[in-house]
């Protein structure tokens, strides 16, 4: 028993040393249970977010203002489906089945990014999502390309390569509206007003209230804390808003030369954490609709899955008969 215990401690130390040397952990390597669990939770949530993220934008595919916009939006939503699938694969390498993950999403047990629980009432919301939501996602995801778990890091590299088109198409929509008629510019501004704070909240709770951060940083799953990433996001977006003549809806926003270790950055106002937790706990504007839409799609797709299985069986039987 004591020997087993010692063996375990030795492997834990070896594991941490491997991480410290920036070596990757692959599926069949030893890993502490807590590392596996943290990754399953994070990759699962990430995958669900990609999949649920298709809904607010899918809402506008049929009503995109031009064919060019429709093509871009279709391609973007298809990418999100692909990203969800890359991530489900990565989670499966940790021993979690696809069916279990699907079940947890449909039952409402699994979490996904709260940002997708906000509605998209106007076309400008599609611009704001691409620019701000995908912008925030990229901030989060670029450091994940160097995450210690090989399959997750590899999925993130593919995702980041594809994601930059998403942000550019969103910003282009906002730029076009901002240069348009008065009504179009107002529509863009109102969308920015709606999406700004939820986007700032996408980085999660403040470091002081983020219980998972410490281990995740030690294991190099996370390379930056929530607040560090949030600062990078605000610093990147504010000048982009200025460039197209839109106003970030934060009266406390001002340049602070002490931020970023004296390099300067934007100070921003108080985040409404009550709203954040309310939406996380399931009481956002669209939580019920999103889960209901996924359940409906799953149920209505059941005959497609059954038909595909039947077709596969028929072909297999024919093949065996021919042999």
């Amino acid at each position: 028993m004591a020997r087993e215990q010692n063996g375990k401690i030795a492997s834990l130390e070896e594991f941490q040393e491997k991480i410290n040397r920036d070596e990757k952990i692959e599926p069949k390597d030893f890993m502490p249970e807590a590392y596996r669990k943290t990754l399953i939770r994070q990759i699962g949530q990430h995958a669900h977010s990609e999949v649920v993220g298709m809904l607010p934008e899918g809402n506008w595919i049929t009503r995109a203002p031009t064919l060019r916009r429709k093509l871009s939006l279709l391609a973007k939503v298809q990418d999100e489906a692909g990203h969800g699938l890359y991530l489900y694969c990565a989670a499966e390498t940790l021993g979690k089945s696809r069916m279990e993950m699907t079940q947890e999403l449909l039952s409402g047990k699994a979490k996904y990014s709260s940002i997708f629980n906000y509605p998209t009432p106007t076309w400008a919301d599609i611009g704001a999502i691409g620019w701000l939501v995908d912008g925030a996602a990229i901030m989060n995801q670029i450091p994940l390309c160097r995450c210690s778990y090989g399959p997750y890091a590899r999925a993130m590299i593919r995702i980041c390569k594809e994601e930059s088109f998403h942000q550019r198409q969103g910003y282009e929509i906002m730029l076009t509206l901002a240069k348009g008629t008065k009504a179009q510019k107002e529509m863009a501004q109102r969308a920015l007003n709606r999406w700004w704070w939820p986007s700032v909240m996408m980085f999660g709770p403040s470091d002081a209230d983020s219980p998972n951060t410490e281990n995740s940083v030690k294991w190099k799953i996370k390379r930056y804390t929530n607040d560090e990433l949030r600062q990078k996001f605000v610093d990147a977006i504010v000048p982009q808003a200025e460039k197209i003549g839109l106003v970030v809806p934060d009266k406390d926003l001002k340049w602070d030369k002490k931020r970023n270790n004296g390099k300067g950055g934007y100070a921003y106002g108080e985040i409404n954490w009550d709203e954040f937790w309310r939406v996380v706990k399931g009481n956002g504007p669209m939580n019920n609709e999103r889960i209901a839409a996924k359940q409906k799609a799953w149920n209505e797709g059941s005959w497609v899955r059954a038909a595909a299985d039947a077709h596969a069986l028929k072909k297999q039987t024919a093949l065996q008969a021919a042999e």
Binding site: K28, F30, G82, E92, A155, K315
Partner: protein, 96 residues
């Protein structure tokens, strides 16, 4: 409702970027048979002209070595004579 359905077959996907290069593993896909696996693999892993050929292989058909047996399988520290630097050749012989 979900639990009644069985898990579909898992396939590993390999893409060859262009002639002259090897097929390279890029991820996995769920599909009931090989035709559907190829179609799904194309849709998921090749939306931007990443390659010109796709292989799909059932994941359960892949046999892999045990990472704990890395020493036995891959150690070559004791066979330094397999490397060119083991051999002494006069400098003025030039590149060899």
């Amino acid at each position: 409702m979900v639990s009644e359905e069985k898990e579909t077959t898992l396939w590993e996907v390999f893409i060859q970027p262009k002639n002259g290069l090897s097929h390279r593993h890029c991820g996995s896909i769920h599909a009931p048979d090989r035709e559907m696996a190829i179609i799904s693999a194309r849709n998921v892993y090749s939306r931007r002209g990443e390659g010109q050929s796709i292989w799909v292989v059932k994941s359960i058909d892949i046999v892999s070595s045990d990472p704990d047996e890395k020493e036995e399988n891959f150690s070559s520290d004791d066979k330094i004579y397999r490397h060119p630097t083991f051999y002494d050749v006069p400098d003025d012989v030039g590149h060899m």
